[in-house]
């Protein structure tokens, strides 16, 4: 029995930063990027997902349209909405681009604070040790 998408995506909540629409986009990407939602999997219709997430149909529709524009999901008239073949790689590339951007911003903030490259590197090394989570390079799946 596959996990209901609404449960995998949630909670879509006003208590979480970002618009509800952006939360849905990000959550779908997260699931696809983590390989939990494989290419070819069917997504629920707008109306079914809206009902399950207790959000307006237009919120889900706009989120799906955004994901479709990015080539992560596709729609087939009368059949439904599916995760695109390139969905996984595009999502991974997007997540990687986000990470690179965040690092660039961190460097920028460090420069503004007058930190040297050496201090920045040391801070980065310390952060790698202190932030929970493992180096995934040796156990890549798929």
């Amino acid at each position: 029995m596959p996990t209901a998408l609404s449960l995998a995506l949630g909670p879509i909540s006003a208590a979480v930063p970002g618009s509800l629409y952006q939360q849905i986009v990000d959550a779908v990407k997260r699931e696809i990027g983590a390989g939990r939602l494989a290419p070819g999997s069917a997504l629920p219709s707008f109306r079914v997902l809206a009902e399950e997430l207790l959000v307006s149909v237009i919120t889900v529709k706009r989120a799906y349209e955004e994901l479709e524009r990015e080539g992560i999901i596709y729609r087939r008239q009368g059949l439904g909405t599916f995760v695109a073949e390139a969905g996984y790689s595009r999502t991974r590339a997007g997540l990687r681009a986000n990470a690179e951007q965040a690092i660039t911003q961190a460097i920028d903030a460090g420069r503004k604070a007058g930190m040297s490259n050496r201090e920045l590197l040391q801070t980065f090394r310390d952060a790698l040790k202190s932030v929970p989570g493992h180096d995934l390079s040796h156990r890549r799946t798929g």
Binding site: A50, S56, V57, I58
Partner: protein
């Protein structure tokens, strides 16, 4: 684009000596939950009654799925159900008798759905109508509407008297009702957080007039609040800005991006923008009503 669910043209009604509704024109698409919002006495209930055809208009016209509400009264009542805490079912003594009476009128009544709704809403047929709480009366009204197979559901303040759990249940039922794309819901409520979350479309009314309408995300993207330093030139109505509050040269303004001659788009001496932030639906309603209610900035006013 398919035909809208509701088309209102120049509709007006003189309600009392002090309140005149309209002329108001509004079109609500099919397949949406439309939030009808505005302050008390804005004309939300009047609008619903006019659409239902329960009170005749003085002028203009309203169509529900193409049927003129003034002439095709039976057809409109067959397609539409109204939910309101104002409707009294006291005359039927018990919930069960009210159900039996109302169901007799409608060929589209679904007894199985009615049984499910009784259980879901925690009502029982033997309960006395006059001992129901306000929330209980709303639930009964909701049950009598949802047990039918209507295409348009009008809900006038349905969340009054409902606890947070019951309100969540109400919205879950409305979203389930929307599974059929031919259906449309118009709902008025002051619980704007919930409406912002569940409504696809918003119509803002004030003093019997339509102030703004559109798809919820579009409307929320159209208006933002700016924190500004005012220059020496006065703001005019053509600047696309509405002053919300002011202290000295520092002011909060509502910026309507749809305004073609907005002075925000071009650098000028009128103001310097310090900050910008999006508005929630509740903040937008307050800002729109404040900005359109004739409050105009004059230098001598100080804080408005």
């Amino acid at each position: 684009m398919s035909e809208p669910a509701i088309v209102i043209q120049e509709l007006r009604k003189s309600v009392s000596a002090s309140f005149c509704f309209g002329p108001l024109s509004l079109s609500i698409p099919k397949g949406v939950i439309c939030a009808l919002i505005g302050p008390n006495g804005a004309g939300k209930t009047t609008l619903m009654n006019l659409v239902m055809g329960t009170s005749p208009a003085d002028g203009g016209c309203a169509r529900v799925f193409g049927c003129d509400v003034a002439t095709a009264t039976v057809e409109v009542k067959r397609l539409t159900a109204l939910v309101s805490p104002e409707i009294s079912y006291r005359a039927w003594v018990t919930v069960g008798k009210a159900i039996d009476f109302v169901s007799g009128f409608y060929p589209d009544w679904n007894p199985q759905r009615c049984t499910d709704l009784l259980r879901l809403l925690g009502l029982s047929r033997s309960e006395r109508v006059d001992s129901l709480s306000l929330g209980g009366r709303v639930k009964l009204s909701l049950l009598l509407a949802l047990a039918r197979d209507v295409r348009l559901l009008l809900l006038d303040e349905p969340s009054i008297g409902l606890d947070p759990l019951a309100r969540q249940q109400l919205y879950a039922e409305l979203l389930a009702f929307m599974r059929d794309e031919e259906r449309t819901v118009v709902i008025s409520s002051h619980q704007l957080g919930e409406l912002e979350r569940c409504a696809d479309y918003v119509a803002v009314v004030n003093e019997g007039q339509l102030v703004a309408s559109g798809a919820t995300p579009d409307l929320l993207a159209r208006y933002t609040e700016l924190d500004v330093l005012l220059g020496l030139d006065e703001l005019t109505a053509h600047d696309g800005l509405h002053l919300l509050s002011r202290s000295g040269q520092r002011a909060r303004v509502l910026w309507d991006r749809a305004e073609p001659r907005s002075c925000v788009s071009k650098a000028n001496a009128k103001l310097q923008i310090i900050g910008e932030r999006p508005l929630t639906l509740e903040e937008l309603l307050v800002a729109l009503v404040k900005s359109k209610s004739g409050i105009r900035w004059r230098p001598r006013f100080g804080a408005v």
